[in-house]
Every structure is written in structure tokens, then in C-alpha cells.
């Protein structure tokens, strides 16, 4: 079954757009397409447990059950490979 990822930033319009595009492309290229949703960070508590992973580009000040990975490296290129690797680990989990 496809994994679902929520991409979250402060407004839910700018950085999460960029990061979601890059991650979806990466997952598809690696043969594991994902479902996704974009969100602002304030909506995350109400979306907890509705996805397998949250990729955030702003601090998530909530204690959530869904794992959170920070995706800033996908924008800045700093430790970008590590970020993708972490994401793939969750996506590929059985």
C-alpha cells in the first residue's frame, strides 16, 4: 500500500510546495510513489495518525504520533542525501 506523507510549513503554501514536489519526484524515481497532502503546521494535531510521515520545514511544536522529518536540507542542499535517506526508510517500511 502507498504510504502517505504530509508536507507542512508555516503557511502551507511555499516551502512545503517545493519540498513536496522534490520528495514525490524522488520517491517515484525510486519506484515507491507516495500519496501526499500539504498542510500548515497549526493543522498537524488534527491530522495526526492520518499519514505515515510528516516532512516539515518549520518547527513542529507538538507531540505527535506520526514521525516528523525536517526537510530543510532539500531546499538548502545541506545534508540533502541524509534527508532523502531518512524519508525513504519510513516510506519503504513494511
Amino acid at each position: 500500500m502507498r504510504k502517505k506523507v504530509i508536507f507542512a510549513c508555516a503557511t502551507g503554501v511555499a516551502t512545503s510546495t517545493f519540498v513536496s514536489q522534490r520528495v514525490m519526484q524522488y520517491c517515484e524515481e525510486n519506484g515507491v510513489p507516495i500519496d501526499y497532502e500539504q498542510s500548515n503546521v497549526a493543522s498537524l494535531p488534527s491530522l495526526d495518525n492520518t499519514a505515515d510521515l510528516i516532512v516539515a520545514t518549520t518547527t513542529v511544536p507538538y507531540d505527535l504520533k506520526t514521525p516528523v522529518i525536517y526537510g530543510m536540507g532539500i531546499i538548502t542542499g545541506i545534508d540533502e542525501d541524509e534527508v532523502f535517506h531518512e524519508i525513504m526508510k519510513v516510506i519503504k517500511e513494511e
Binding site: 511555499a14 520545514t57 542542499g77
Partner: protein
């Protein structure tokens, strides 16, 4: 005014050699350009400043610090952006950790509507930030060259600098 894929750009939205001492001053200077063209609403500036306070937009890159102030689509009329290149860095707070300061030389003031059309702007503009040489080269351009680069970038005719 250039209209390309629902993105409005014109040369006077690109400013080089800016002498500003605070992020507020840069943001207001660039915001006035967007307001004067009717690309954003009168509430845009306060929306930007409020959002910058709550969730800052400074980005620590590998080379030149950048910031991407933006706000909710309700303050925006058309997809557009203004770019300001600063003589000396101004301090923004970091997007991920607001307790960290970022010395910013290039400010991208984004005007984004709710429409899906801004996906393309985001992909092209934010795709530049991880290329160290591109950010360095942006600092050296004239206003005309800066506009020309982003115009070509948005049209898909140029991808790097």
C-alpha cells in the same frame, strides 16, 4: 509587464545594491513595489511582517544567506515576486530554528496565490538555493541582468547561472 505562466514579473521588481539596515526595511521596500503594481493588497505588508515574526523565513544555505518572506494568499492578487540584493547583510531569523540568526544578502519577497500555478515558481526559484555558485553569481548582476535571469528562469529557458 511580462506575463508568463500566470507569473507577473517586471524589471523594477528586481533591485540591486540595496542599503538597508533591517529586515523590515528591505521587506517594506520590496513590498511597496508589489503594492504599486497592484500585485498584492494593501494588507500584504502587515501580513508579511506578522508572519515573519511568528515563523521567520531566513535560510542558511551553503553560501549566501537568503530569505523568502511570504504570507497567506488572501493578501495577494497575482503570483509574482520581488528580489532585493543587499549591499550589506541584514539579519533574519532562521526558518527551522528562530533562535538562530541568518545573515541575508538576497531577499525573495514572494507573492503567492492559492492557485496551484505557483508550484512552478517555487520549483524554479527555490531550486537555486542549493547551488553555491548561482547564489554567489546573483550578487554580481545588474538590475537588468537580474530581471533577465529570472525572466528566463520562469520561462524555463535558463536553469542556472
Amino acid at each position: 509587464m511580462e506575463v508568463q505562466g500566470e507569473v507577473y514579473l517586471s524589471e523594477d521588481l528586481f533591485v540591486v545594491g540595496l542599503n538597508c539596515t533591517s529586515k523590515e526595511e528591505v521587506i517594506e521596500t520590496l513590498s511597496n513595489l508589489l503594492v504599486s503594481k497592484g500585485l498584492v493588497k494593501d494588507t500584504y505588508l502587515s501580513g508579511i511582517l506578522e508572519r515573519e515574526q511568528q515563523s521567520p523565513t531566513g535560510l542558511r544555505t551553503k553560501s549566501v544567506g537568503v530569505a523568502i518572506p511570504h504570507t497567506q494568499p488572501e493578501h495577494v492578487n497575482s503570483n509574482s515576486f520581488a528580489v532585493g540584493v543587499l549591499e550589506k547583510p541584514v539579519i533574519f531569523a532562521d526558518m527551522l530554528d528562530p533562535s538562530v540568526t541568518v545573515e541575508v544578502r538576497i531577499v525573495f519577497l514572494l507573492a503567492l496565490t492559492e492557485s496551484s500555478k505557483h508550484i512552478d515558481i517555487m520549483k524554479k526559484v527555490m531550486g537555486l538555493f542549493k547551488v553555491e555558485s548561482t547564489l554567489h553569481n546573483l550578487l554580481t548582476l545588474s538590475q537588468e541582468q537580474l530581471f533577465s535571469f529570472f525572466d528566463q528562469l520562469i520561462k524555463g529557458k535558463q536553469t542556472k547561472l
